[in-house]
Symmetry: C2
């Protein structure tokens, strides 16, 4: 199990480092990458590598919470994206499935965006500290 915790954390750290050989070594050749919010899927390590290599902007990823067991893992991470339009930042989650050798067979990302809260009953809510 320690290995999947390490693999999940390294997945984000090696992306951050653009260490493409190290990053692709964590996954099977037929890995599937799902983005449920846009209903997009990428089949296979080589396309997944191209997708990340060509992703526009200067992005940074910092792991915040890593949890894993023998078959599943998650990294909750902070991200920043610098483009000509300025800096965006937020938090996101990557879920993993592992095979028996501890290699990643599936990645599912969620990139939650801010939204305006609906009306809430009085007295329940405080603002989160930034």
């Amino acid at each position: 199990m320690a290995d999947t915790v390490t693999a999940a954390r390294r997945f984000v750290e090696l992306l951050e480092d653009r260490d493409w050989d190290g990053w692709t070594a964590l996954m099977t050749s037929d890995v599937v990458y799902d983005m449920p919010q846009t209903k997009e899927r990428i089949h296979g390590r080589s396309r997944y590598l191209d997708f990340n290599r060509t992703y526009p902007g200067a992005w940074r990823l910092t792991p915040k919470v890593v949890i894993a067991d023998d078959t599943h893992g998650v990294v909750w991470f902070e991200w920043t994206l610098d483009t000509e339009a300025g800096r965006e930042s937020g938090e996101a989650q990557a879920f993993f499935e592992f095979d028996d050798a501890g290699l990643i067979t599936r990645v599912t990302d969620f990139w939650p965006e801010p939204y305006d809260p609906p009306a809430r009953p009085d007295g329940l809510i405080s603002p989160m500290p930034s």
Copy 2:
């Protein structure tokens, strides 16, 4: 560790069942509930209970993936919400922090919404099956 896996799964199942006594028994009295997308925070079990008791609409929650270790856990779940405006559905994640007794001291929810994908390089992306 099995206890935190169970506690994380039961958190969602007992919410689904509106078993408020069972649900509140999983957490400390000073539990903190954070919603980073709206920057809202709720302090304490009694306010957190009121928040859920009074949440509008007929909501259903179904755990999909549960992962936990001694101190942290996550449930990735499917949800539906029926209101007068119709049915909405999606997937969300609840992260947990546990104390030494396995009680929940912090919950952080993410409710990622669909968005239009940016332009991607040709040949990389397929639609996700629904």
